[in-house]
Amino acid sequence: MKKFIILFLFNSVIFLNITGQKFYRINGEFTIKGKTADGKNQLTMGKFYYDKSIQKLVYISNFPIDETWVSVDTNLYKIANNKVIARYSSPPLSLFSIFHLALTSQINNYGLKNSAFTISKVEKQNDMVITTWQPPSSMSKITGKVLISNKSNTLFGIVFLDSKSKVIKKQFFENYQNVSGVEFPMEITDITYTGDKENYQVTSYKNVVIDETTKNMYFDFPIPAY
């Protein structure tokens, strides 16, 4: 009986340890390549830092110019030479970033689980499970559904539709790597639609690190006086 209890407690400890593991930091290198339908280009390269307890999303670009972008609360700061060059009001972008979703295990539903959207159906097609998130009926003439597809229990794509079921935006998450226990997509492709034209953006990540214990000054990047 004693052996049984010890074995039970041992297994419980292991189970709690596994399920209770909390990741809090992610950092690495990024490259963003983008092209809009009206001919705007983007090639931005640098490093990113995110700590979910601080909720500051920090992009330190070294190309095409040295500048830092920090999203914190509802502010987006552009910093260069230790000065705030510009400040914009914005949604709390960090909370909807792939980094926050990865650290909080919300990638599979893109954080919609805690929103006003509700699941209207789940479908399976080949190797994809497609979940349709429906806005409330009062909004059905104005807004559309959000469809999320998962492959092998990881997020593959998101499709935003308007009220006429026309695609507004598609986002694809590919080249997943398991980084210290966190499944992270190393390539994200965005396709947004302006009329019949398509805008492309591909974001690539490399050298991703989970729970880095140093580099605190980057994770909590100080915002210079504005």
Binding site: K33, G34, K35, T36, N41, Q42, L43, T44, M45, Y59, S61, N62, F63, P64, I65, D66, W69, T74, L76, K78, Y88, S89, S90, P91, L93, F96, G111, S115, A116, F117, K121, V122, E123, K124, Q125, M128, I130, T132, P135, S138, M139, I142, T143, L147, S149, F156, V159, D162, V167, I168, K169, K170, Q171, D190, I191, T192, T194, Y200, Q201, V202
Partner: protein, 151 residues
């Protein structure tokens, strides 16, 4: 046992309904994307091989123009005009009234975007009202020792 398996199969079949139309939405022309971004990929390779030279080129030009390509730098614009490239109604739906205000400022007062955010905000307000009057109020009444039953 057979009946059990049959019921399970029927349940799964109903739950995992197959629809080709919606699955088709999750395809994209990867070659077209790569082709559209090919000049940027060339530039990326050049920068990786010669990082210092590339930055000097940008600095000398006095603008973010390199190899004839003008570059914008905001990593938060997801290829479109909306914040993160996500439609305004989404922000309204998830963030409520604050989301509407944020969309207003983030889009420099684009009223079409703001209108979408307002409509997105409506269910958020309804949920909040239900929560406040039905759940929070009841909970307060039950747990507040200073409110006598019947009030």
């Amino acid at each position: 046992m057979k009946k059990f398996l049959l019921i399970i199969s029927l349940f799964l079949a109903a739950y995992l309904k197959v629809s080709a139309n919606e699955a088709d939405l999750f395809s994209y022309n990867k070659v077209a994307v790569q082709t559209a971004l090919s000049d940027l990929s060339v530039l990326e390779s050049y920068v990786i091989e010669h990082p210092a030279l590339a930055i000097v080129n940008v600095t000398k030009s006095g603008s973010l123009m390199i190899n004839g390509i003008e570059l914008f730098t905001n990593p938060f614009m997801g290829g479109g005009d909306a914040p993160l490239g996500i439609p305004a109604f989404f922000w309204g739906c998830v963030l409520g009234i604050i989301g509407v205000a944020i969309v207003y400022f983030a889009t420099n007062g684009d009223m079409n975007q703001v209108k979408n955010a307002i409509f997105g905000c409506i269910p958020w307000v309804v949920v909040w009202i239900i929560w406040y009057f039905l759940i929070y109020d009841v909970a307060k009444t039950v747990t507040n020792p200073y409110i006598a039953p019947g009030y």
